[in-house]
């Protein structure tokens, strides 16, 4: 298999803007070209579009709008983890030799159809993700005596981290009491425990080893990938206090990379809701089961940005199809020592975790400088 690198990136600011997905895709692509002097349209042989938008033929449309005539171009939709799914597809095209240089562009709007999974009749009237998130939270509280304060620390940490992310939706810090007193959505969920679907785009350029040197002196290598789909429907989750697909995807990615959680210096993990970050820290293997909240408290108290340095989904906002790509850009910047105020010192290995629909599927990507 060919080695695969991330070599360049572009992004829009995440916002509430009412602009078409085609316009977001194009401005995101422009941002990538603007930051990559050696890149011309002729270099790109594959264009992948990650979005939940229903628009037709978006891969070829973005290609035409950008003056690219790729061999391969199509859209990828996989709800909230469309971005990581697209990066895995790009990896596969390059590793297999079908492509050399892949442009992956993710975009969604604040009103993306991906916010709700219409198919799942077992959710009854409770189609909104806030309901599974409430049940995860309640179940975890019940089993591990999680307090409201411990839950609020996740949001406080990620909002604080987002202040140094120029593309984040939110640039406001919240105190723990402000989070604990934010609008009650359900008995177990408050407004500031939730990530916000928003408008935004993220683009990343991936190449084979031979071509990487043309675009950067600091390529970042994809060393491990794990993906697992356990079901589509939320009610197939057997245990509400653990994310089975995340556990399996994590083990597979660490095996492929020949690494362990101890080797990871920085991670972007899918905090769609506060409870998700606590469970993911455990299920990826950063800490023991039941210790996720303690782990977050230590990060917060020591101002350690190791987990979700760009502010996660809660701080950065969640433009669904762009999220996995934005996470991967953050880890790329961290491993290039180019993350500005967000920089973790001496970061050599990083991890991206992106998931969909109550963790019915998860993707984990491990990168190395």
């Amino acid at each position: 298999m060919n080695e695969v690198a991330t070599v360049a990136y572009g992004s829009t600011k995440f916002s509430d803007d009412d602009i078409s997905v085609e316009d977001i895709l194009l401005s995101t692509t422009k941002s990538l070209f603007d930051q990559t002097p050696n890149l011309s349209q002729n270099d790109i042989d594959t264009v992948l579009v990650s979005t939940n938008e229903n628009g037709q033929y978006l891969g070829p449309i973005l290609s035409e709008l950008s003056g690219i005539k790729p061999n391969i171009s199509h859209k990828i939709e996989n709800l909230c983890s469309s971005g990581a799914s697209s990066i895995v597809s790009a990896y596969s095209y390059i590793a297999s030799g079908l492509s050399d240089t892949v442009l992956v562009v993710g975009a969604d709007r604040y009103d993306s159809p991906g916010r709700l999974l219409e198919w799942d009749d077992a959710r009854g009237e409770y189609t909104n993700p806030i309901f599974w998130a409430s049940l995860f939270t309640k179940s975890y509280k019940r089993k591990f005596n999680l307090s409201e304060e411990e839950l609020a620390i996740v949001s406080a940490k990620n909002h604080k981290n987002a202040i140094d992310n120029p593309n984040a939706y939110s640039n406001k810090a919240y105190t723990i009491p402000e989070i604990m007193n934010s609008k009650q959505i359900t008995a177990d969920l408050r407004l500031l425990d939730c990530s916000k679907p928003c408008t935004g785009g993220s683009a990343i350029l991936m190449t084979s080893k031979e071509l990487s040197k043309k675009f950067t002196d600091a390529p970042v290598w994809i060393k491990g990938i794990g993906q697992k789909t356990t079901s589509a429907g939320f009610t197939k989750n057997n245990d509400l206090t653990e994310l089975e697909s995340t556990k399996i995807a994590s083990i597979d990615s660490f095996n492929m990379a020949k690494m362990s959680p101890n080797d990871i210096d920085v991670a972007e993990i899918h905090d769609a809701f506060s409870i998700c970050e606590i469970m993911e820290l455990e299920d990826i293997g950063f800490t023991k089961k039941g210790k996720g909240a303690e782990y977050v408290r230590t990060l917060f108290n020591t101002e350690d940005k190791k987990i979700n340095p760009r502010g996660g989904l809660i701080g950065s906002g969640h433009p669904l199809g762009a999220t996995g790509i934005a996470q991967t850009i953050e880890i790329t910047q961290q491993l290039q020592n180019n993350a500005g105020k967000k920089q973790i010192s001496n970061a050599k290995s990083g991890l991206v975790h992106n998931m969909s629909a109550a963790a019915t599927s998860s993707a984990v990507i491990i990168l190395e400088s």
Binding site: D121, A122, G124, E125, F131, L135, K138, S139, T235
Partner: protein, 106 residues
């Protein structure tokens, strides 16, 4: 509208069961996910137990498991906080763009 939705609108809770391997297919579908045979439609059990619950405004919303060992989210009208493993009954159901399941304490 499929059989499930039509019957829900008459207040009947029907589910799909494989005519060959007897597996309950849930969420309902015309083809079995185990052996790909056609299903028949059978009346689902209305007796269930609470797996987990939370509350929005005045209503409890619960993840429940029926005696057919299928799980769904439904509403429980109750003045008291429901208990895990509490027995409840499907009291009312209908379909209006999505299924609505209303349970009551036994």
């Amino acid at each position: 509208m499929n059989k499930f939705e039509n019957e829900l609108n008459k207040g009947n809770f029907v589910i799909s069961k494989c005519q060959k391997c007897n597996k309950i297919v849930w969420p309902v579908n015309d083809i079995c996910d185990n052996c790909f045979s056609n299903v028949i439609w059978v009346t689902g059990s209305k007796s269930a137990r609470i797996i987990e619950c939370s509350k929005q405004k005045n209503d409890w919303f619960c993840l429940v498991e029926t005696e057919d060992q299928i799980r769904m989210l439904g509403t429980l009208k109750s003045d008291n906080e429901p208990r895990i493993e509490q027995r409840i009954l499907l009291d009312e159901c209908y379909f209006d763009k999505k299924p609505y399941f209303m349970f009551k304490a036994v």
